[in-house]
Symmetry: C2
Subunit: 237 residues, 2 copies
């Protein structure tokens, strides 16, 4: 019943369209892959389809566990309907295992299990290269109130617990991942954006094989079979 | 009565010597100036003397306000006796006004008054270029316990209030500064290291003239008259 209207925003991985309903957006997952804040950019046929499907399944699974997201329903291979929210200009990263910038910045060996899940905030601002923030920065830049910060942290930790278990059943180690949150009209905070191999580090539990965007970032091969493998294992749950 | 024994550690700005008393160290303030984690390095005659005197006066003033430090007494123009402590591998930065890396990283105009003092932790590790940390990083890297973090933050904020007032009386704006803390034998946390124009951003309240190491960092002129000016104003209090 809803029609796709004007393009509201085109990001690196998705296009957001308005609909007849001001509270609902129409997303299209693109085939574009980027790394290093857009420094590396390629079209990878089939990526949009896989990320849309993986995100849709994950948001459904989270809903079953009582965790609300912006997800309304999958419309087609690359499209979803989502609730429009006012995004926090924050990227929320949870790390269970040292990897990537955490390892490099802090000198912790890649693959080292962390003694508890580490949460990081980053300012979502391409022009500044998404700098890392501490809680004082979040407050002084007025990116979220103290209560919102507490709620975002709590939700992120809950999501981590659900996802760790879920991926473990798929024989996958959830190394780290990035979340984005938004605020609905009534002020409640919901998970938004996507959860996909673009936004998670996923390592096969037996082989340590990478099943995520690091393979693209480091030019290690074709990501499509890996993302397909993640979707296959997800569909077998 | 105490003798200077073996060199324990030579840093970028100071040399630490052992004494007959295992709990007491003998510091010599050097004339070396460094910036960009040692990338720029110069000998500046007279700097050691000025920083030793400024630090000694500031630690005395803090003591009068009930804030303990490692400072025991000034021995000579460039030397102090200090309490030996087990240092936290942390640099604690307090910012009252946006400047330097804060402005650059977060896109906040230099000189903007912050709505509250912002505290930042950095890992004191030259080989990693002193990366910024959030509280989870401090915990997961076991750099301090949760209680120690709370106490360090509280002390740093108290020191900030004392220093803001003190510098205001000297017609100086305390923009930001770096502290280091250590733990004594009995587990109590004390302020250590130094507080000098090497470790603070100090701007003249009327002219905004820089009276600190930024003048060296940015090759803007001779720092000795500026450090001398800070000491003169301090001695007039
Ligand atoms: N429910 C939502 N409502 C409004 N905006 C959203 C929602 N979910 C995600 N977004 C935003 O949609 C934009 C498009 O996603 P993406 O292509 O990943 O963009 P970007 O390159 O900015 O990360 C992002 O800025 C993201 O924050
Ligand atoms: N009271 C103290 N006890 C032990 N070490 C201290 C004390 N105060 C400062 N230090 C340490 O002394 C070293 C020498 O100072 P500095 O020359 O500034 O060295 P750096 O180049 O490592 O910053 C620093 O590592 C500092 O942390
Ligand atoms: Mg995105
Ligand atoms: Mg030093």
């Amino acid at each position: 019943y809803l029609d796709k209207k004007e393009l509201l925003y085109e990001g690196k991985a998705k296009e957001l369209y308005e609909t007849d309903d001001p509270d609902i957006l129409w997303v299209n997952y693109k085939n574009q892959a980027t790394a290093g804040n857009g420094a590396k950019k390629e079209t990878i046929t089939g990526k949009g389809k896989l990320n849309n499907q993986i995100t849709s399944v994950l948001f459904e699974k989270l809903k079953e566990k009582g965790i609300n997201s912006h997800f309304i329903k999958q419309l087609s291979e690359t499209e979803q309907l989502i609730q429009k929210v006012e995004m926090f200009s924050l990227e929320v990263v949870i790390r269970n295992v040292a990897a990537g910038s955490f390892s490099k910045r802090l000198g912790v060996e890649e693959g080292k299990q962390l003694s508890f899940p580490v949460l990081e905030f980053y300012l979502k601002e391409d022009a500044l290269n998404d700098p890392i923030l501490n809680d004082d920065h979040v407050r002084v830049l007025k990116l979220a109130t103290d209560n919102e910060v507490l709620e975002i942290k709590k939700k992120a930790m809950e999501i981590n617990q659900v996802l760790i278990e879920l991926f473990e059943k798929m024989n996958i180690r959830l190394v780290d991942f990035k979340l984005e949150f938004g605020k609905t009209n009534d002020g409640s905070i919901v998970l938004a954006d996507e959860i996909s191999p673009d936004t998670c580090r996923l390592w096969d539990l037996d082989t340590n094989d990478r099943l995520d965007k690091d393979v693209f970032r480091k030019d290690l091969g074709d990501i499509i079979p890996l993302y397909q493998e993640v979707l296959n294992r997800l569909n077998q749950l």
